[in-house]
């Protein structure tokens, strides 16, 4: 398997493993806050940023990241206005992002092909700068989560109790949304904007079935996602398939397997 010796494939593996670690972590928090769809939304807005980056000739991942951050702020703001309709803010920002991206595409018809790589992911085109950005974001996410893991648990389980304990709930909410924006914008080059939310949510869907505790669920989500990323990338590399698609389909196979196994256990019991 010569492909493992190719630098582009090694970069893809490093990028994939980093995202495979951080995406399900943020995904767990999103799913538990009933905000599964936020991943899709931020990814679409991020694409608009990437398009702008190509248009004005700025590092596209950078502009995508900035857009995702702005969108995450806008979502938090709208969430305050429409407090009991969390999904409304998501729908508004999502359609806004798609509209903006479409507009920017028509402004710069020449770069359509490049932008497409952000829609469908192009893990093999990661360069050293991309790896550095992914690595930086991953390090930040891991540091914040390690330092605040127990407080995050209380906040996601019972936000009121977290407030009563004197935790800065609002600051935590903003931090989690911002970190999610960062993770999503660096993930889109790897799995593509259309599939980002799969990497955020499917590992969590698996871990919720098998998790014995909160800690165990978080660990299992990471394990599922890393297994899928590795299998997906290797399959894509060996048979020359779209890597984003193979990763996501592997995740879905894992989910079906987990659910079937669980049902089998229940029937026997």
């Amino acid at each position: 398997m010569d492909i493992f010796l190719e630098p582009f494939f090694q970069r893809a593996l490093i990028g994939g493993i980093l995202i495979g670690l951080t995406a399900p972590l943020m995904g767990t928090f999103l799913v538990l806050r009933r905000l599964s769809m936020i991943g899709d939304t931020l990814a679409h807005v991020s694409i608009a940023g990437v398009a702008l980056g190509f248009l004005i000739n700025v590092y596209p991942l950078g502009t995508g990241l900035l857009f995702a951050l702005l969108a995450s702020f806008a979502i938090e703001q709208l969430r305050k206005t429409y407090r009991t309709y969390a999904e409304l803010s998501i729908a508004i920002i999502m359609s806004g992002g798609v509209a903006l991206a479409t507009l920017l595409f028509t402004l710069g018809k020449g770069f359509n092909m490049n932008v497409m790589s952000y829609f469908f992911g192009s893990v093999y085109t990661l360069d050293t700068a991309d790896i550095a950005v992914v690595g930086g974001v991953s390090a930040l996410v891991l540091i914040v989560i390690c330092l605040h893991f127990k407080e995050f648990f209380l906040m996601f389980f019972d936000e009121e109790a977290a407030s009563v304990s004197g935790l800065p709930v609002r600051a935590y909410n903003i931090a989690v949304t911002m970190l999610t924006a960062l993770v999503i914008s660096v993930s889109i080059k790897i799995v593509g904007a259309l599939l980002v939310s799969a990497l955020l949510t499917i590992p969590v869907a698996c871990s919720l079935v098998v998790g014995r505790s909160f800690r165990h669920s978080v660990g299992m989500a990471v394990l599922y996602s890393e297994v899928a990323v590795m299998i997906g990338l290797v399959v894509a590399g060996v048979w020359d398939l779209a890597p984003g698609a193979t990763v996501v389909l592997t995740l879905i196979v894992l989910l079906i397997g987990t659910l079937t196994f669980k049902m089998g256990l229940r029937r026997r019991a």
């Binding site: 127990k150 209380l154 009121e160 109790a161 407030s163 009563v164 935790l167 871990s207 919720l208």
Partner: protein
Amino acid sequence: MLPMESATETATAAAVGQPSCHNRIVEIDRLSFLYEHKNVIDNLTFTVLERDFVGLIGPNGAGKTTLLRLLVGLLKPTSGDIRLFGQSISKFQDWDRIGYVPQKNAFNPLFPATVREIVESGLYGRKRLYRKLGASDRRKIDDALDVMRIADLAGRRIGQLSGGQQQRAFLARALVNSPQLLILDEPTVGIDAETQQGFFQLIRHMHEHHHITFLMVSHDMEMMEAYLGSEPVQSAGKLKFYVKHTHAPEDCGETNLSHSIERPGGMREMMEVT
């Protein structure tokens, strides 16, 4: 302002003639709260003394939950002030002195959390940011689980427990810090009558034998009246305050040592009377 002046100002029916051995746990001082131009709470003054059991009763929309949320700092008063343990709520930091039991249906039953994790989370707070739990914390968790008789359920996911067991898990979480004030927000809603009875017995026992002040919101008149008497001490709009002290306030002179003394160490000692 001199202490005496503020005492007369905030004095309520419950506090009239209060002996000095009772600390003021919660002082609500001319509190008003407006929500969308409606007066949810209008100029309310009320004092909760040490070891009071205050039942807060009223129909939906009377402002029970609003008042609770104001008391724990989730809402800011439009005017007036709240003092907790003698300190204005805007400066209050000792949130670990307050235990909080939410409504039963306030959480997601499919959340992947074990009973132990939930009880442990009662220890988290501003004072423990960036700190790992130590052996003494683990002992506190074990004690709380033992006292609520759910030690054997510690590893189970919360959603697998019955309503009554879940409620005891939340009570254990509130007790793990050995709080001096316990706030319960309709803790028995959605639980069958028999389990409700048991839960209320437990709360009553804790009030009678342990050094805890209670503030409980409920719309279950019967159960509250059985313990707190049929006459509210104070009414504000549709909100009614029922108060029972562990002993008549005027007996304070004789018993103050036995009940007003700082309680020793851990919760096990505190609960051992059981």
